[in-house]
């Protein structure tokens, strides 16, 4: 845990304001092609006001929407080797990294924050798709390891929200190794008896799906999100036929038993709080305000890990 105390330098995120955007900006919905007023879209959590299509969401908007009072603390992630292969395709990987950093203001594709949800302490690791398609390289692996270790340290549930095209090819084999590293990470949370929830958002594919993203105790998905292992183009080329309607969408996965529930974005926070309350034997909605969050969490954990003998059970009750 030594590195954690070194690396976790809490920085209170004082209500980071969304980027100022001129009020007259309009967005076109990629699904229904209707124009949506920017402020309307922001207010509606980037869900199209015409057709309900869930557009991708910047990672900090996502955290703002989930944490109590839109407040959380971000942790710093252990530094990784930058561009270990000195990779260059049509562009240098190191340049692509710099561009993504400038565009998003992030060091890499995952932000790890801790705070409360319904007064329950939680750790959330969320992906920024705009950072190289949310692809998973060593930095993303470190972020998930840090999130998991923080969850264990704080005895808090871990929520991971992927939005990723899969492995970061520019890191070659080292990106593939993140599948094993992130699996170790989330298993540490599960082994402590802490809930590990995954919210699958558009898109969750490739090596990300085939590792930590499919290992949640409960798998939630946003409506219409693409979730799968192989890309639909690759599948089409292999089988040489048209793919079924709705293939690899959240609802399709739900029909095939791969996710527990499809939850509209507006209900996501409430649903997560409800789930955590049930898993931790506590009722966040009813108990709000009567105990500091940390002691309630500890109590919940005590209850969940070692059920005390109940004196009301009669001695002759055999089962």
């Amino acid at each position: 845990m030594n590195w954690l105390t070194n690396f976790v330098r809490p920085k209170i995120q004082k209500l980071v304001r969304p980027k100022e955007v001129p009020d007259n900006l309009w967005h076109q919905c990629p699904k229904c092609s209707e124009m949506v007023f920017h402020r309307e879209l922001e207010k509606n959590l980037r869900v199209c006001t015409h057709c309900g299509h869930h557009m991708r969401m910047p990672v900090r908007d996502r955290l703002r929407m989930l944490f109590d009072n839109a407040q959380w603390t971000e942790i710093e992630i252990r530094a990784v080797a930058v561009d270990p292969l000195r990779f260059k395709d049509r562009k240098r990987y190191s340049d692509r990294l710099k561009e993504s950093q400038a565009k998003t203001g992030l060091k890499d594709a995952v932000v790890v924050g801790h705070g409360t949800m319904g007064n329950l302490g939680v750790v959330i690791a969320a992906f920024e798709f705009d950072f190289m398609g949310g692809s998973m390289g060593a930095a993303v692996g470190e972020a998930l390891i840090a999130a998991a270790e923080l969850a264990v340290l704080q005895e808090a549930p871990l929520i991971v929200i992927p939005s990723s095209g899969g492995a970061r090819m520019q890191e070659g084999i080292l990106s593939l190794m993140q599948m094993a590293r992130t699996t170790v990470a989330v298993d540490k949370v599960r082994e402590k008896g802490l809930p590990y929830l995954v919210v699958l958002t558009d898109p969750t594919t490739g090596g990300v799906t085939a590792s930590f993203a499919m290992l949640g105790d409960v798998a939630l998905a946003e409506p219409g999100a693409i979730i799968g292992f192989a890309g639909s183009r690759v599948i089409e080329q292999t089988i040489r036929e048209k793919l079924p309607e709705g293939f690899q969408r959240s609802e399709y996965l739900m029909d095939h038993g791969m996710v527990d529930m499809v939850v509209p974005r507006h209900e996501l926070r409430a649903r997560l709080i409800q789930l955590l309350g049930l898993l931790l034997h506590t009722n966040p909605a009813a108990e709000v305000g009567d105990l500091p969050a940390s002691s309630r969490r500890r109590k919940a954990l005590e209850r969940s890990t070692s059920a005390p003998p109940d004196p009301s059970v009669p001695d002759d009750y055999e089962p």
Partner: protein, 340 residues
């Protein structure tokens, strides 16, 4: 094998094959000059047989040139050439290694959920007298067996069977040997519907949870998630000319270069050879191949691999189960990390 005649392989555009009495041999483009020399040798031998002329001297001279050319070609294979060698149709596949290295092999089938996927073969047997569980990705040798094994591209059932066998091995204290050779997990509608991603994820999770030794060997092609599902070992080895990568060079080229023809360039950039991976600290060792690759002298690579597995297994069986698990997990967590 003496009466071999040169013919053009219908499967590979520029490649030559030498037709022997038993099987067709395939030659890669860079092996073409060597194949021609070998064709000449075969013709000369044919002549000497027929006419009783003593041309052994000429044959010997040509043979030493073949050896020299092979040695120099294989000593400096480019990543793209290695990719072709790793996929060489005559290269020994998982079943060949199992036949050569495992006694009393007892295949086990099915995932107990949906079906049997022969892209992954698994079962118990004896390795140098010791009971082991072997799980291998098998590509198949001819049209019939390639279809049977789905070209080594496993479906969820394959990974779920692998997981079942790993868990069984864990219960009975059997060390596990995995043989990796796949272009990748099968990209199909049914595979997706039945949870390809989940099946691979669980396979990785189980690999990381085992308290028995797990030795993984990439014998040919280690393609992406479909490969790492069976390659989270205490020890991961690669054959000298095997490759292991996050995506095929062709796939990488078509995505990053927007041009599948750039596969050769992509192969260079991706660092997918055994030598690259050893330098990156991703694998624990390289098993040498005979001159001209594993397909030229399979017996030699069987021996080399037997020795390598025996050496590692002898060490690993001495480590307590919890330690094996902890070390395996820690190895992957530390992988690629900067030194503090």
């Amino acid at each position: 094998m003496d009466r071999r005649v040169l013919f053009r392989c219908p499967r590979r555009g520029g490649g030559f094959g030498v037709y022997g009495s038993n099987a067709a041999m395939h030659f890669l483009d860079f092996e073409k000059p060597i194949a021609e020399l070998e064709g000449k040798i075969a013709e000369l031998k044919h002549l000497s047989d027929a006419d009783g002329l003593n041309i052994a001297e000429e044959v010997g001279r040509l043979q030493s040139r073949v050896d020299k050319d092979l040695r120099s070609a294989y000593a400096k294979l480019s990543p793209w050439q290695k990719t072709q060698v790793a996929r060489h149709p005559d290269r020994p596949h998982a079943l060949d290694y199992i036949r050569a290295l495992i006694q009393d092999f007892m295949p086990l089938a099915g995932d107990r959920l949906y079906g049997e996927d022969e892209a992954i073969i698994g079962g118990m047997g004896r390795f140098n007298g010791r009971s082991v569980m072997v799980i291998g990705l098998e590509k198949g040798r001819d049209t019939e067996t390639r279809v049977k094994h789905n070209f080594g591209m496993a479906r969820p059932e394959g990974y779920r069977k692998a997981r079942r066998l790993m868990q069984m091995a864990d219960r009975f204290g059997l060390p596990i040997i995995t043989l990796v050779d796949t272009a990748g997990a099968y990209p199909g509608v049914g595979a997706e519907e039945r949870g390809q991603a989940e099946a691979i994820a669980r396979c990785i999770q189980t690999s990381l949870d085992l308290r028995v030794p797990l030795i993984s060997i990439v014998i040919g092609e280690g393609g992406s998630g479909g490969a790492i599902a069976l390659a989270v070992g205490n020890v991961v080895l690669m054959l000298e000319h095997a490759i292991y990568s996050v995506i095929s060079p062709e796939g990488c080229a078509s995505i990053l270069w927007r041009d599948g023809e750039q596969a050769k360039t992509a192969a260079e950039a991706m660092k997918l050879t055994a030598q690259d991976l050893e330098r990156l600290g991703v694998i624990d060792g390289i098993v040498p191949e005979p001159m001209g690759g594993a397909h030229r002298t399979p017996e030699a690579v069987f021996t080399a691999l037997r020795d390598a597995i025996e050496m590692h297994l002898n060490q690993l069986v001495r480590i307590e189960g919890g330690q094996l698990r902890a070390r395996r997990r820690d190895k992957f967590v530390q992988m690629g990390r900067l030194q503090e």
